[in-house]
C-alpha cells in the first residue's frame, strides 16, 4: 500500500489557530471522512492541505508529484457567464463518462440555465473527474437530492478503486459512513 499523504500534529488556521492537532496517514485508493460540529476546523484542514490556510505547527508530507484536486463550498461564479457544462469539464480535464443521464443530456447548455442541483453536481464532477491522485471534497452532498447522493456515493467508490485517495468533509453522516473507509470525528483533543 502506498501512502499519498502523511499529516503529523497539524494545527492550522487563518489569523489564529483554528484546529486541534491532527494526524492522518492516507493511502492510495482510500477514502477518509471528516465529521464534527461547525467551527471545529474541518474546512480549515482542507484549506491547509491545499496551501490556502496557515499552518501554525505540525507538518504535511505529500508523495512527490502528487496531483491535488479541491472542491470547496464556494459556488463557481457562472451566473451570466456563457459557459457550457462541456466547456466546464474541459477546463479541468474531466471526462463525462459516467455522468448521470439527467446531466449528460444537458452538457451543451449554459451552466446558468441549469437548476441549482444540476449545476452543483456538474461543478463537483469537474473536480472529481479531473486527473488527480488526491481529491479533497468539502460538503459534496450540499444541494444534492437522493438520486444525486446515491450516484456520488457509487462514483466515489469507483474513483477510489481506480487508485485515487480522498478526504471528504461532510455533515451528512449517512453519506460519510456509506462511502468512507474510515471516518474521523473532529472535536476536542487530538484526532486519529
Amino acid at each position: 500500500m502506498s501512502f499519498l499523504l502523511h499529516i503529523e500534529h497539524l494545527v492550522a488556521g487563518w489569523q489564529q489557530a483554528a484546529t486541534q492537532p491532527f494526524d492522518l496517514m492516507l493511502a492510495a485508493g482510500e477514502i477518509v471522512g471528516l465529521t464534527g460540529p461547525n467551527g471545529v476546523g474541518k474546512s480549515t484542514l482542507l484549506a491547509a492541505l491545499a496551501g490556502r490556510a496557515k499552518i501554525f505547527s505540525g507538518r504535511i508530507e505529500q508523495r512527490p508529484g502528487l496531483r491535488l484536486a479541491l472542491q470547496t463550498q464556494d459556488v463557481p461564479p457562472v451566473d451570466g457567464l456563457p459557459l457550457s457544462g462541456r466547456e466546464l469539464l474541459a477546463l479541468t480535464g474531466a471526462s463525462d463518462d459516467g455522468l448521470p443521464h439527467w446531466l449528460a443530456d444537458r452538457l451543451d447548455l449554459r451552466l446558468d440555465r441549469l437548476s441549482g442541483g444540476q449545476r452543483h453536481y456538474l461543478a463537483l464532477w469537474a473536480i472529481l473527474q479531473a486527473p488527480a491522485d488526491l481529491v479533497l471534497l468539502d460538503e459534496p452532498t450540499n444541494n444534492l437530492d437522493a438520486a444525486g447522493v446515491a450516484h456520488l456515493t457509487a462514483h466515489l467508490r469507483e474513483r477510489a478503486a481506480a487508485g485515487a485517495g480522498m478526504i471528504v468533509v461532510s455533515h451528512d453522516l449517512a453519506f460519510v459512513h456509506s462511502v468512507c473507509d474510515r471516518v474521523l470525528e473532529l472535536g476536542a483533543g487530538d484526532v486519529e
Binding site: A50, G51, R52, R67, L68, A69, L70, Q71, T72, D74, P76, P77, V78, G80, L81, P82, L83, S84, R86, E87, L88, L91, T92, D108, R110, A126, I127, A130
Partner: protein, 254 residues
C-alpha cells in the same frame, strides 16, 4: 473610400475591431470592464505628457498604460473592488485635461484622443497596430484556458500549481497595452465601446464560451464597418458614431 487615404485608417481600426471585443470578453469574465476605460484615460494622459516633453505621443501613451497595468498588482491589497481602475480613470482624465488646458499642442491632440479621429492613422501606425494585435491575440489564446479556470475554480487553479504570473499581471499588461494602442488610434470612447458592448451582448446571448467569443467578434466587426462608412459619409468624428452604432445594436440584441 478605398483610396490609401482611407484604407490605412480602415485597416488600422479593423485590427482593433478584431482584438478589442475578444479582449473585452476576458475583461468582463474578470469583472474588470472598467479597466478598459481606466487604461484608455491613462494612455491619453501619457500621450499628452509625452507631447509636451517633446517625446512621441504613442510612446508616452503605451508606456503610461503599460506601467498602470503592470503596477496595479502592487497596490491590489489596498485597492480592491475596482478602486484601482476608478483611481486610474480619474487620474488619467485629470492629467489629460490639465495638460490640454495649459498647452496648445496638447489641446489639439487631446481633442483628437477624446473625439476619436481614426482617419489620421498613418501607415506606420497601421503596421504597429497590426503586429501588436496579432501578438496580443496569440498571447490571449495561450492564456484563455487559465483565465477561465482561475475565474471558475480559483482554488483548483492554485492547488494544481498553474503559473499565476501570466494569468494575472501578464493579462493586465496585455489589456493595458492593447487599450493604449486602441486609444491612440480610435480615441478613448471608441476603444471603450468596442471593449464593452460586444462582450456584454455575447455574455447575454452566447450559447457557450466559444460561441460567445464569435458573437462578440461578429458584433464588433459589423458595427465597426458600419460606423466607418457612416462617419466617413456624413463627415463626422469616428468615435461617437461607433459608440452610437454599438448602442443601437446593443439595445436591439439585448
Amino acid at each position: 473610400m478605398w483610396s490609401e487615404l482611407f484604407l490605412v485608417p480602415f485597416l488600422t481600426g479593423l485590427c482593433l475591431a478584431i482584438l478589442l471585443p475578444l479582449l473585452g470578453c476576458y475583461l468582463r469574465l474578470r469583472d474588470e470592464w472598467l479597466a478598459a476605460l481606466a487604461y484608455s484615460h491613462v494612455a491619453a494622459a501619457g500621450a499628452l505628457l509625452a507631447l509636451v516633453t517633446a517625446m512621441p505621443p504613442a510612446v508616452g501613451g503605451i508606456a503610461a498604460a503599460g506601467l498602470a497595468g503592470a503596477g496595479k498588482r502592487f497596490f491590489a491589497a489596498k485597492l480592491a473592488g475596482g478602486a484601482s481602475y476608478a483611481l486610474l480613470l480619474l487620474g488619467g482624465w485629470a492629467v489629460a485635461v490639465l495638460l490640454a488646458a495649459n498647452h496648445p499642442m496638447a489641446e489639439r491632440l487631446g481633442h483628437a484622443l477624446f473625439d476619436g479621429q481614426l482617419y489620421f492613422s498613418s501607415s506606420e501606425q497601421l503596421w504597429l497596430v497590426a503586429v501588436c494585435s496579432l501578438m496580443a491575440l496569440l498571447f490571449l489564446r495561450k492564456l484563455a484556458n487559465n483565465l477561465l479556470l482561475a475565474h471558475v475554480y480559483p482554488d483548483f487553479f492554485r492547488v494544481r500549481g498553474l503559473p499565476a504570473w501570466p494569468t494575472q499581471t501578464g493579462f493586465d499588461l496585455l489589456a493595458a497595452l492593447a487599450l493604449a494602442l486602441a486609444t491612440m488610434s480610435m480615441g478613448v470612447m471608441g476603444a471603450f465601446a468596442l471593449v464593452f458592448i460586444p462582450p456584454w451582448l455575447a455574455f447575454r446571448r452566447g450559447r457557450n464560451w466559444r460561441a460567445g467569443l464569435w458573437l462578440a467578434l461578429a458584433i464588433g466587426l459589423l458595427a465597426y464597418i458600419a460606423a466607418f462608412i457612416v462617419a466617413l459619409g456624413l463627415d463626422q468624428p469616428f468615435g461617437p458614431v461607433l459608440a452610437l452604432v454599438l448602442i443601437v445594436v446593443g439595445l436591439v440584441i439585448a
